[in-house]
Amino acid sequence: MATVELEELTKVYPGGVTAVNAMSLSISDGEFVVFVGPSGCGKSTALRMVAGLEEISSGTLRIGDAEMTKVHPRDRDIAMVFQNYALYPHLTVRKNIAYPLKLAKVGKSEMDRRLERTAEVLHLTEFLDRKPAALSGGQRQRVAMGRAIVREPAVFLMDEPLSNLDAKLRVYMRSEISRIQQDLGVTTIYVTHDQVEAMTMGDRVAVLNGGVLQQVDKPSVLYRRPANMFVAGFVGSPAMNLFESTITVGDAGVYVEMGDQQVELPLSFLDDCPALRAHQGERLVCGIRPDDVYDAALAPDLGQRIAANVQLLEELGSEIVAHLDIGVQRVEIGGPTADTDDSEGLGSAFLGRFAQQSDARVGERMEVAVDVSAMHFFDKATGEVIRS
């Protein structure tokens, strides 16, 4: 187990493309950190630089107390689980798992002890004499985990290890990996493009876009206090409602324009967000999560009321995602959003997450309640959050 320090880590490919740009991150001993972002954001490249599979163009990498920037992959004391498992097809499960131990010339008794323990932890004991071709996707994934675990490395690296599994198995393996990581307490860096995976598994989540680290924090903080428009739009499903707006600071409150309507924030909002006052009268981007938009009929004492036309209702059983028209145009964050994001399709849609009891009807006009205390404001030019 060890800490991992990335200092200004940069990867520039020969053609001049910068895949990772000055990424700095400090990962504590035993911590589970998830790199998440859209395709091509540099998350896998960053992981591969930590693994030593990609040369580091500039910057410093430290694992534990040692600098590893130019150290050969096999000497970094890391183990990696790959997206397509990368099992050796001609070897049995037993030999696959024991392979790194064999190369490290570990004694037979120690090898057997570790192999048995690993097989037990991963529920693989009965499959030890099978070859990978005779295993299911989930079992292969566990063998790949086993090959990493058996080495007892300082750091686990996982590159989208669940992306080849079906949805049900993915949910199961998600909890399995979390359980194993907690049991072993090994520092882990996990790469995924699936924000649900990131939010549910990581102690901290690092969001990347265009090779730049956007924000790294606990999942709840990313969700509630995004550092910029990209994180706000990327994290959460359905995505945050982002639309252009103007604010006016009055004697009684702060007025936020929402199309041809407006809502009022209490003046106390400025205590938490003092920088907002300086943006009075400017066009800025306002954000509110669909979770903070209610069917007013079911939330009589909550939030500010606005009128909305119901365009579409997605019944999910436990809740209803309502696509509403309140006269604002959505602001897109540019990069592709997560796979599970279902907010695409209706450019003008403002999303609300209603309780299943809602009587909303498509085509009708209704009143929705907006929890204004959960509003976010972003600088339109820089995309950065306007807070303090």
Binding site: L53, R74, F82, A86, Y88, P89
Partner: protein, 317 residues
């Protein structure tokens, strides 16, 4: 209702498609034609072998008397015994109808063919595999240009390199020796390198990266992971190389004048040349030819499926 449907331009189902019996009859004719074609190809392919066997089992003196017969004329197995060197003078006289004018040491030539083909196959597959891996995976400056240059060797007709190779082998003092016969084919051919490189490119890079992280270097990754994973194409290349080396004629003819170093292909050629033009020993020649082809026929029967599959895989049909 049906009138309306017809008025709308719709046709009843029976008019849209032929009845099932007509379809079956059509399919039956197609099948019969396909079978007839396959049988014709089979006969064309197998007939020369049968004719060689029939001639090999015939008495040489009676061949022209029964040249219309599809069966052996004056059945005898003496020709095979003659080729193998186990026939007595009387048996030779009986089957040949005259004194034996041509002879060759079949077993010695068989030994040369086996040694040469085995050595060429081992060397060529091993070195080609290593070169192919380097071209597929190792990163070095000018790799792709070098591969292209190497591949352009495929365009050079073998006859172009015959004389330079002969001069080289002569200067090395390797005429009439195994090294001389084997050397030009021992290391690699552009085709073998190309064939294996294409396969190696298809192997997941992550497997090699996993091996790297597990602590394996290039050599261990290659021999411990890549080679076992490539057993099928390596076996195929081995078979193709063995067959090609077995059938090689021109180079051993030029480099091996000593009968003790002549493989079967050359020895059979010499055997033919020794016959008088008026009454060549067709029966002996056919018996020898069949015996020479036997190992390759056995190999092909055992691994034919693999060869056909891999030729399909490599896209060279």
């Amino acid at each position: 209702m049906s009138a309306t449907a017809l008025d709308d331009g719709l046709t009843p189902p029976s008019a849209a498609a032929p009845p099932p019996s007509a379809r079956l009859r059509k399919r039956g004719i197609g099948r019969a034609a396909a079978w007839a074609f396959m049988i014709a190809i089979l006969v064309i392919s197998v007939f020369p072998f049968w004719w060689a066997l029939r001639t090999g089992l015939s008495t040489n003196g009676q061949l022209f008397a029964g040249e219309q017969s599809l069966l052996p004329v004056g059945y005898t197995d003496n020709n095979f015994e003659r080729v193998l060197g186990t026939a007595s003078e009387e048996e030779i006289l009986e089957s040949l109808g005259r004194q034996n004018t041509g002879s060759f040491d079949f077993l010695q030539s068989l030994k040369v063919s086996v040694i040469v083909s085995t050595a060429v196959t081992i060397g060529q597959v091993a070195f080609s595999a290593m070169a192919a891996y380097a071209f597929a995976r190792l990163r070095f400056r000018g790799r792709d240009k070098l591969f292209f240059l190497f591949l352009s060797g495929l365009m050079i007709p073998p006859i172009f390199t015959l004389i330079p190779n002969l001069v080289l082998v002569k200067n090395l003092g390797w005429l009439n020796s195994y090294p001389g016969i084997i050397a030009p084919f021992f290391f690699m051919t552009p085709f073998a390198v190309f064939f294996l490189r294409q396969f190696f490119l298809g192997i997941s890079r992550e497997v090699e990266e996993a091996a790297l992280l597990d602590g394996a270097g290039h050599f261990r990754t290659f021999f411990g992971i890549i080679v076992p994973m490539s057993a099928a194409p390596l076996a195929t290349l081995s078979i193709l190389t063995y067959i090609t080396a077995w059938n090689e004629f021109l180079w051993p003819l030029v480099v091996a004048r000593d009968p003790a170093r002549q493989p079967l292909t050359v020895a059979l050629g010499q055997f033919t040349a020794q016959q008088p033009g008026t009454s060549p020993d067709w029966s002996g020649l056919m018996a020898g030819t069949l015996l020479a082809a036997l190992p390759i026929i056995v190999i092909f029967l055992a691994f034919g499926r693999k060869v056909v599959d891999s030729i399909g895989f490599s896209g060279i049909k």
